[in-house]
């Protein structure tokens, strides 16, 4: 009895989580434009998606900005962590406090602040201002994920490498960087997803005529969403799902190898 109840409970939760997405996927294959009537299977919304220059442009913008912003944030953040390690503990703590504030700050505040900043310095708003903003709000997250990897233990590994005759550059490349790598990777992935996800900051820092997926959807809400956006959402969902499954599979395979 208990078991049955538990299963039903899980089923309800799963339905809450996945039924909306399932609806979206089904509707993306609907022949009709209607959101409530099923008129048969069709791929025409996918065709529309891939032939629409506006949509393909938004997709290209979203992902190129995400990759570039994540790359910039990762480099800047990692260098910042290395710099902070050479500072006095007190200075470092103050800097870390400043690093944590933007993460707690509401996106809307960050967005408006960045917009005002660009207006003030007279920067033409467009691709570059979005990129700059995304890199900016990602840096604290990179610092937060790389910093714990650089600690006393890394220091002593570095010293051990010197002790064994390595030059500082060699020790840094062969010992310190591999130690930081997991932090750098997760910082990059975190930045990438946050950039793809972002709407509010993009909305305030973009210029006219440039869209990312999120701002494009928002602008279409006003005139009525076309099912080609369902097609787009479906593709994004499937890509995310595949990535997640591969990562998890790989992890469990690694764990199995470790257990052996």
């Amino acid at each position: 009895m208990k078991k049955v109840f538990g299963r039903i409970y899980i089923l309800i939760i799963m339905m809450f989580l996945y039924l909306p997405i399932l609806t979206l996927i089904v509707l993306s294959f609907n022949k009709a434009k209607s959101m409530s009537v099923w008129k048969g299977f069709s791929l025409k919304w996918y065709e529309e998606l891939f032939s629409s220059r506006i949509m393909m442009g938004a997709i290209a913008n979203t992902f190129s900005i995400a990759i570039l912003a994540a790359l910039i944030a990762t480099i800047v953040g990692t260098l910042a962590v290395l710099g902070m390690a050479a500072m006095k503990q007190k200075t470092e703590n103050v800097l870390m406090a400043f690093n944590n504030i933007p993460m707690l700050n509401a996106d809307i505040v960050t967005g408006i602040a960045l917009m005002l900043f660009f207006l003030m310095i007279g920067a033409p708003r467009g691709y570059c201002t979005i990129l700059f903003s995304h890199a900016t709000f990602c840096i604290p997250y990179v610092i937060l994920s790389v910093k714990p990897r650089l600690n006393k233990h890394t220091d002593s590994l570095f010293e051990a490498a010197l002790d064994l005759g390595a030059s500082e550059r060699y020790a840094f490349r062969k010992i310190v960087i591999p130690e930081l790598k997991p932090g750098i990777m997760s910082g990059f992935l975190l930045s990438f997803t946050m950039s793809v996800d972002d709407f509010i900051i993009t909305y305030f820092t973009r210029g006219a005529g440039i869209n990312t997926i999120s701002t494009l959807i928002y602008s279409q809400v006003k005139v009525g969403i076309r099912p080609s956006l369902f097609a787009l959402s479906t593709i994004i969902f499937v890509v995310a799902l595949v990535v997640l499954i591969t990562v998890n599979l790989r992890q469990s395979r690694q764990e199995a190898a470790m257990a052996r």
């Binding site: 233990h153 002593s156 590994l157 010293e159 051990a160 490498a161 010197l162 002790d163 064994l164 005759g165 390595a166 030059s167 500082e168 060699y170 010992i175 591999p178 130690e179």
Partner: protein, 361 residues
């Protein structure tokens, strides 16, 4: 034996804390020297200065007659076994051992042979491809040794290498280290806070406290003839008592006179206040009234080989620590005797003012 390492009046401070107060130390070729002291005594800093990881504020470091004070760590013919081993976690055992040889661009065939040799030396044949996190603490310790010696350093620095191991393994590794040292024929400079480790393995023990070297000598000298109360207290259990010389070779402790073997010749003239060390195993138990002094047993502990007892003097002013193979009961009144040669007379520690006056003389 020729001198290999010499420290000359090394001073080192971190911020405002002076860690080393003018350390002079000489280590001979092929010697096993142990720096012994409580945490914070400056022993690790001394080691780091020799390894090249810290630069002294004052003083020079000599290696084989050459001044190496300004030579960076990676150019010193010295290798270190770190306290936490500092094995590279993303490399396997073989790659860890190969690190110093890869840095020097040795041929892969040479490296392979050397890894084999080093693993054999530390009794871990066939461990080349193990990952570091698959090793036990004792195995990691051995790999750290293998990695440090494969480069044939002239000196091996060991920073509390056995600190993280359990008692049994620690004792095993002590024998192992002495064997390794014999096989390699290189100089060991060892750091520990464990007096037993220091006494069992070393040719020379250097006791440090608060940035000063308190005493240096063979383990026997350090144990039998501590120069001050700190050394006596730190090396083994002991009764440290305040006394006064009352005559040549006669010291008075708590109103009772004890014959000893030190007098004016050793710098303890009659009338001089002194510290006295009596090791607990040197106090013999006799029937009540037949010894030099009497007391009542107030507690008793069985510690494996022997009993450890606390005995209160008759006037209740002193508690003596005794170790004896025979069992006596709590509450029993006993007489006690100490042979004159087992009474170690030491100078009282001088106050700063007194030392200053001595300089004026």
């Amino acid at each position: 034996m020729s001198e290999l390492i010499r420290l000359e009046s090394i001073v080192k401070a971190f911020d405002d804390t002076v860690v080393l107060n003018g350390i002079n130390l000489s280590v001979a070729e092929n010697e096993f020297v142990t720096l012994l002291g409580p945490s914070g005594c400056g022993k690790t800093t001394t080691l780091r200065i020799i390894g090249g990881f810290e630069r002294p504020d004052e003083g020079r470091v000599f290696f084989d007659g050459k001044d190496i004070t300004d030579l960076p760590a990676n150019q010193r013919p010295i290798n270190t076994v770190f306290q936490n081993y500092a094995l590279f976690p993303h490399m396997n055992v073989g790659e860890n051992i190969a690190f110093s040889m890869r840095v020097r661009n040795k041929s892969e065939a040479y490296i392979k042979d050397k890894i084999k040799y080093a693993l054999k030396l530390v009794n871990l044949d066939g461990f080349e491809n193990r990952r570091i996190d698959q090793l036990s603490g004792g195995q990691q310790q051995r790999i750290a040794m293998a990695r440090a010696i494969v480069n044939e350093p002239r000196v091996l620095l060991l920073d509390e290498p056995l600190g993280a191991l359990d008692l049994k393994l620690r004792q095993e590794m002590q024998y192992e280290l002495v064997r390794l040292k014999k096989e390699l024929g290189i100089t060991f400079l060892y750091i520990t806070h464990d007096q037993e480790e220091a006494l069992t393995m070393s040719d020379k023990v250097v006791v440090m406290n608060e940035g000063y070297i308190q005493q240096e000598g063979t383990p026997e000298q350090i144990y039998d003839e501590p120069v001050n109360a700190f050394v006596a207290d730190f090396i083994g259990d002991s009764n440290i008592l305040s006394g006064q010389m009352v005559d040549e070779k006669l010291v008075r402790i708590n109103g009772i006179d004890y014959p000893c073997i030190d007098g004016s010749e050793q710098g303890f003239p009659p009338g001089r206040p002194v510290d006295v060390v009596i090791r607990p195993e040197d106090i013999d138990i006799l029937p009540y009234g037949e010894g030099l002094f009497n007391g009542t047993i107030i507690s008793k502990l069985f510690i494996g080989v022997h009993y450890e007892m606390l005995v209160e003097s008759e006037d209740g002013k002193i508690e003596w620590l005794l170790q004896n193979y025979d069992q006596h009961d709590v509450g029993e009144k006993i007489g006690m005797h100490v042979d004159p040669e087992n009474i170690q007379i030491m100078h009282k520690p001088k106050s700063d003012a007194e030392s200053a006056m001595e300089l004026d003389l």
